[in-house]
């Protein structure tokens, strides 16, 4: 999953490289390209990075780098960049924010900071971080959804938002938020938290820390942003909180109201990239079930990726017949859709790549349980 505040990420180094190359390149540019800045790729970091969760409590987390321009795959990329080291905790989520990659680690519960070469920028932070789930960044702060040290898996009374200062590398504050906040989003100066154990979205005023709630027909997991800063939100039906209204919610962040509910049965309850968007958020991709005819009138349940046209508000099957689908991500460079598949908690996972039209391109073998994709360029 790439950083939420940019379509694709330029690092400082890349910017300097870009400037240098641009300066050299101007002399060679044709007249037609004089007014177009050259976009150079930072070969050292360019690629899609798959964040592989591993097996809870039993390690196995890893990073897989896929240089899609060169079709070059490197498994255990963190180990390759840091000989003799491994990622100790399970990677629940990761994203880049201001030249730093932050990984939410479970068991141990910690916040890991890496540079864009995936080298640690310091020790992991554990103080104040208890079952971290997701984060968003604003200014010098990360807002991290946490489930608390001993979740009851029912009401989640002790969950909270950790306010982490990226300069001091400390959790400065905890905003109590029962209900199991999972995905987060920032819009119009407010922090939105999808509650996974209550059918509500929490809306937090970051100045006053006052919390308001938007009622939903189901519990929820992850957001994607619409161009006008409104939000789409995945609604899920779980055993503890069953609902017929699973699908997508559309939240108006000006009025803080649920404006629409697009129903799609069997949305995935995985804690992975089940909801993603293309460059301009005109098309969303949602992981859900689909029934297949196995012959003789026998229908079997399989996984599928559905595309959602935000203009028409219609779901269509994008890819079906999947087993172990954890989610999807859209390559911002070429609009390919990467579908992350997990075989088990101990086996290598895979990524199936499709073009925007849904035509299969290739398969990659990655680490155990790929959950998220980070695009760096």
């Amino acid at each position: 999953m790439y950083a939420k505040n940019s379509i694709f990420h330029f690092s400082s180094k890349a910017l300097w490289s870009l400037a240098l190359v641009a300066a050299l390149g101007f002399s060679a540019c044709s007249d037609d390209n004089d007014d177009q800045p050259q976009q150079e790729v930072n070969e050292e970091i360019s690629g899609a990075y798959f964040l592989n969760y591993g097996s809870y409590g039993n390690g196995g987390a890893s990073i897989t780098r896929y240089n899609f321009r060169k079709d070059a795959l490197t498994n255990k990329y963190f180990e390759a960049q840091n000989p003799g080291m491994t990622i100790n905790s399970n990677i629940q989520y990761g994203a880049a924010y201001k030249d730093t990659i932050y990984l939410m680690g479970n068991s141990a519960d910690e916040l890991i900071s890496l540079d864009l070469h995936f080298k640690p920028t310091g020790n992991a932070v554990r103080e104040g971080i208890e079952k971290p789930r997701f984060f968003v960044g604003q200014g010098d702060y990360l807002y991290i959804s946490c489930w608390g040290a001993n979740p009851d898996w029912s009401e989640m009374p002790d969950s909270y938002i950790a306010v982490y200062n990226t300069k001091t590398r400390k959790v400065e504050n905890k905003i109590a938020l029962p209900g199991g906040p999972e995905g987060l989003a920032l819009a119009k100066g407010k922090l939105y938290a999808a509650l996974n154990y209550r059918p509500q979205v929490a809306v937090i005023d970051l100045n006053s820390e006052a919390i308001a709630y938007i009622d939903l027909p189901a519990v929820s997991s992850y957001f994607v942003s619409a161009p006008n800063e409104n939000l789409y939100l995945a609604l899920v039906s779980t055993y503890g909180d069953p609902s017929d209204a699973a699908g997508l919610a559309y939240i108006n962040t000006t009025t803080d109201e649920l404006e629409d509910n697009y129903v799609l049965q069997g949305v995935s309850t995985s804690y992975a990239s089940i909801l993603s968007a293309n460059n301009d958020a005109s098309t969303l991709y949602l992981t859900a079930e689909a029934w297949e005819d196995a012959g003789d009138g026998n229908w079997v349940q399989k996984g599928a990726i559905y595309s959602f046209d935000t203009e028409s508000g219609v779901f269509e099957e994008f890819v079906t017949g999947l087993t172990g689908a954890q989610g999807a991500a859209v390559n911002p460079i070429n609009n390919d859709v990467y579908i992350l598949l997990s075989a088990s908690a101990t086996e290598a996972g895979s990524v199936s790549i499709y073009n925007a039209e849904g035509v299969h391109q290739k398969d990659l073998s990655v680490g155990i349980s790929p959950y998220w994709t980070l695009f760096l360029d």
């Binding site: 409590g57 141990a108 020790n123 069997g266 349940q301 598949l341 997990s342 155990i368």
Partner: protein, 635 residues
């Protein structure tokens, strides 16, 4: 009493072997014969080892996991004490049946029992059967079976034992056994309490400053405390030597903190609390030519996680069994039986619309015969009937041939072919929306051959056994990501094969008695279509060694185990092999019929830094002191 015991064995062995030579041999090698159960009789040549009470006396505080890890080559996967599961021959935890009389005490929701919650102090012997034995033991006995044995002493008078152990890391054990009887009736009351803080020091390579300092840091284990206690009451009545009524009532209360992995080492951990009540009453009549037995039992299993009563997991079952045997001839016996279970699960994650109760009925037939001289054969067949489920038909053929025998030595050749199965657990079938009620039973095919050699030299003996085995388990159930969530599915087919070597010897040198033995197992086990990838947590090589030295009232014991390298995931990460050595010394003070035994143990003598489960710390060198008082007032 000892003489009558040997005489009983002599008579039993004579019936089985039908030759004077064999009878003599069998009467001396005590570990070949069991008193209470007849599963041996109808499984000629099956590989069944015994961990004797004399060995268990060295470690009264040990759970079943510790006893197996120290005294057998069987791999036990577990961490520092909270959870341990038994894996015979590369199979999974729920492929091991654990039997107490007519009961399989495995959890019906999980399919296995926590071996660290089974105190060896309450049992007199432990028998280990390798390989599938579903035809005798029913569902779940695919990799092997553990039999928890209780000897009927038919005490005349009173006997008592009081034992206590204190050890490193806050370990305390207190146990008592009280035997009362008059030779016809007997009451046996056993109780124990075991506690351990488990605050051992270990080298933590995954500490919180790892990313700037990858060197291990010495830390104290947190959040791994254990407290187990139990009470067992037996009432036995002997109408005559061939007719007995025996009953067992066993309450077990096991609590432990869920040990955090090394990365998370912290005192804030979840707790798991299990309460189990197991009871069995059985009437056994072995009068020739017809014998029969009737039994009934009730089992209540309860598990509470994190004191959350809303997520209590309870199962109750009523069990009843009836079997009759008929001796057609001295060398032919037929037995038929039926086993009925009525099971009610009360699990928060099961919908009452899907499962309210389940009934199971096992029909079985066993035939023992000797087709030719020196050849024993048994045929067992079993068919299980389950509400809304189809279980496979399970036959087994086992043979034992005494190829050569004199008064001093004996060579036996064994072989067998059997099917085994395991019906999916309740969790597999009914957990939330991920359970799959359409799962098929796991099915195994087990082929085995071996030979055993016994050489008797006066009061000394030497035994050697070699076994070759092949197991093919289909429809292996695995939880893995499915359509949109984790699901239970029949997705694996696993082949396990191997070679097992065993040596055991007893020698007397004047007043000195020495017994030593060892096991080695070579066990490649893999998914059917991945020949080169060993299954995870299945060591290819394993072994153990033990040696006892006894001189008058003193003794010295050493036991060592080797666990080969094993994968802990399928992307090539592995745990290195480790070798552990334990030492104990003891001295017994005797006064008439009473005795006081003092012992000291050193575990992990080499202070080896190892992991049995990846990323979970294990204790280094530790010490224990034990005292055991035996009081007899035999009439």
């Amino acid at each position: 009493m000892r003489l009558s015991f040997i005489l009983f064995l002599f008579v039993t062995a004579n019936v089985l072997a039908n030759t004077d030579v064999s009878a003599v041999m069998d009467s001396i090698t005590l570990d070949d014969v069991t008193v209470v159960s007849d599963y041996r009789k109808f499984q000629a040549g099956a590989k069944i080892d015994r961990i004797r009470s004399e060995k268990l006396q060295h470690m009264p505080e040990a759970g079943l996991d510790q006893a197996l890890m120290r005294l057998s080559p069987i791999y036990v996967k577990g961490n520092a004490g909270g959870l341990a599961t038994i894996r015979f021959r590369g199979t999974a935890a729920n492929h091991t049946a654990i039997k107490l009389g007519g009961l399989n005490i495995n959890s019906l929701t999980l399919g296995h029992a926590n071996a660290s919650n089974i105190p060896t102090y309450l049992f007199d012997d432990i028998h280990l059967q390798y390989g599938g034995a579903s035809a005798i033991n029913g569902s779940g006995s695919i990799g092997g079976t553990v039999y928890l044995e209780q000897k009927s002493m038919w005490t005349k008078g009173q006997r008592m034992n009081f034992s206590s152990t204190v050890g490193s890391f806050g370990e305390q054990f207190y146990g008592s056994k009280i035997y009362l009887g008059n030779g016809h009736w007997e009451s046996v009351t056993k109780a124990y309490l075991f506690r351990r803080e488990n605050d051992f020091y270990f080298n933590n390579p995954y500490h919180e400053n790892y990313y700037t300092n990858p060197q291990p840091v010495r830390e104290k284990q947190q959040g791994a405390a254990i407290e187990n206690k139990g009470l067992m009451q037996q009432f036995n009545y002997r109408f005559d030597p061939a007719a007995t009524l025996q009953s067992t009532f066993w309450y077990e209360d096991s609590w432990h903190e869920v040990q955090p992995n090394m990365q998370s080492n912290s005192p804030t951990v979840p707790e798991l609390h299990n309460k189990n009540f197991r009871s069995w009453v059985g009437y056994d009549n072995k009068k020739n030519p017809v014998s029969f037995k009737l039994g009934a039992g009730y089992v209540h299993d309860e598990q509470l996680y994190q004191k959350n009563e809303d997520q209590l997991i309870v199962t109750d079952r009523l069990v009843a069994e009836a079997a009759a045997g008929y001796k057609l001839a001295p060398d032919k016996e037929l037995k038929a039986g039926v086993l009925y279970k009525y099971i009610v699960p009360e699990v928060y994650a099961y919908s009452k619309d899907v499962i309210d109760y389940e009934q199971q009925l096992d029909l079985y037939l066993s035939y023992y015969f000797e087709p030719v001289e020196n050849l024993k054969a048994t045929v067992n067949v079993r068919q299980m009937l389950v509400t809304n489920f189809k279980a496979p038909f399970t036959p087994a053929l086992l043979l034992e041939y005494k190829a050569a025998g004199t008064s001093k030595q004996q060579l036996s050749v064994t072989g067998g072919l059997s099917r085994s199965y395991r019906i999916p657990t309740f969790n597999d079938r009914y957990w939330g929306v991920q359970g799959n009620p359409n799962l098929k039973a796991e099915e195994g095919l087990n082929a085995e051959a071996g030979f055993s050699y016994l050489r008797q030299m006066g009061h000394n003996h030497l035994k050697a056994k070699v076994n070759l085995f092949y197991m093919d388990v289909d429809n292996w159930i695995q939880w893995s990501p499915g359509s949109i969530d984790w699901e239970a599915r029949n997705i694996n087919r696993v082949v396990s094969k191997g070679l097992e070597l065993q040596l055991q010897s007893l020698f007397h040198l004047g007043p000195l008695e020495t017994e030593w033995g060892g096991n080695y197992s070579f066990n490649p086990v893999h998914d059917k279509d991945q020949n080169d990838k060993q299954l995870i947590y299945a060591p290819r090589h394993s072994g153990n060694f033990y040696g006892d030295l006894k001189w008058k009232a003193a003794g010295l014991s050493v036991d060592a185990s080797y666990t080969g390298e094993r994968l802990h995931n399928k992307v090539g990460d592995s745990l290195p092999a480790h070798f552990l050595t334990n030492l104990s010394i003891w001295y017994r003070f005797n006064y008439r019929q009473q005795s006081l035994r003092l012992s000291a143990q050193v575990l992990n003598l080499g202070d080896v830094d190892y992991q049995n489960e990846a990323y979970y710390a294990m204790p280094g060198r530790s010490f224990k002191l034990s005292i055991s008082l035996d009081l007899h007032n035999n009439k």
